[in-house]
Subunit: 162 residues, 2 copies
DNA sequence: GGTGAATGGTTACAATTGAAACTATTCGAT
DNA sequence: ATCGAATAGTTTCAATTGTAACCATTCACC
């Protein structure tokens, strides 16, 4: 029975062995890549939509008349990514842009009817995929997942900035 | 006020409302991005290592003398990514490459002593970050996370290739 | 009201990544 | 042995993405 757990890395019997396949950031990355690629493939194939574009559409469907920066906040994209996605969507006639009358720097973005139509067709597809994915989990597990991911996101953010 | 619930979208009664912020693939993507950026930043800053390079090192530390595609399999990278990571590591003197005597197409990769040294310094850093991240969760939750991510990975793979 | 800092958004350029073509070697069938 | 297909790995070129610089407008403050 060891009295002095020195600097207790974990009893340190095998402590800092790193197995990529059990390393959480790696696993998250692999999972996310598989999921994103499936989704991106489908959106691109069927609607010529990139994921950034899809995010913009999704958020504008729910909150019309946001400015580009507001879209950025709600999609976890930076403003350059939003700008590019918006350009593509405008070019495809899926978005209408006007400018705030009070502050002419701010854009006001909303879906055109073509954009709405894309949304009503893509959303079920997205939700369908999510459903198929989550079918791997019991309802309880789904709630856990949500909670765990939420906690990790918070923590990861805190670790990131400071 | 609409009288007709038109076209009952999905018999399942479950909303076909899509809220990006509750959409699992989106949440996973955001979480993974935050985590990956923290890690990538630190590796790059302190060791001039990219994430692909780090993965190659991590896997070779544990399984020396793999060929490039074997590395690819164990790191979930494609062979092009491995090739590029290997180039960088060779140039930095962190890897030694020889070729299989039986099949001269296959490379045999192993860490140089400089490479090993990088590994022994980065691994604790990586594990430290993981630990700080997982501190947000109880031990039980950590096990759940592992299990859930595993299940989702399996399922996502199955969904991806038919 | 005028000037400098801040904000919204775009553009330009570099670095990263992905897809396809390519080289070299080996395998399989004849 | 020989020829075509397959495999290991690299290179090339295009597309995506990240960073920084850049306008235009507005704000803060004198």
């Amino acid at each position: 029975m060891q009295r002095k757990v020195r600097h207790a890395r974990r009893g340190n019997g095998s402590a800092d062995q790193l197995h990529l396949e059990h390393f959480v950031p790696y696993r998250l990355s692999v999972l996310t890549n598989i999921v994103s690629m499936s989704i991106a493939g489908a959106y691109e194939r069927e609607f010529g939509l990139s994921i950034p574009q899809w995010r913009v559409i999704a958020v504008l469907a729910r909150y019309p008349d946001l400015s580009a920066i507001e879209v950025a906040e709600r999609t976890a994209m930076d403003k350059v990514a939003v700008s590019r996605a918006v350009q593509g969507l405008l070019a495809a006639g899926r978005l209408v842009r006007s400018y705030d009358s009070g502050d002419r720097r701010r854009s006001r973005l909303r879906l055109s009817s073509a954009g709405k139509s894309v949304y009503t067709r893509v959303a079920p597809l997205a939700l369908g995929y999510e459903k198929k994915l989550l079918d791997a989990l019991s309802p309880t597990d789904r709630r856990s997942l949500d909670r765990l991911v939420g906690r990790l996101m918070e923590r990861a953010k805190r670790l990131a900035d400071r």
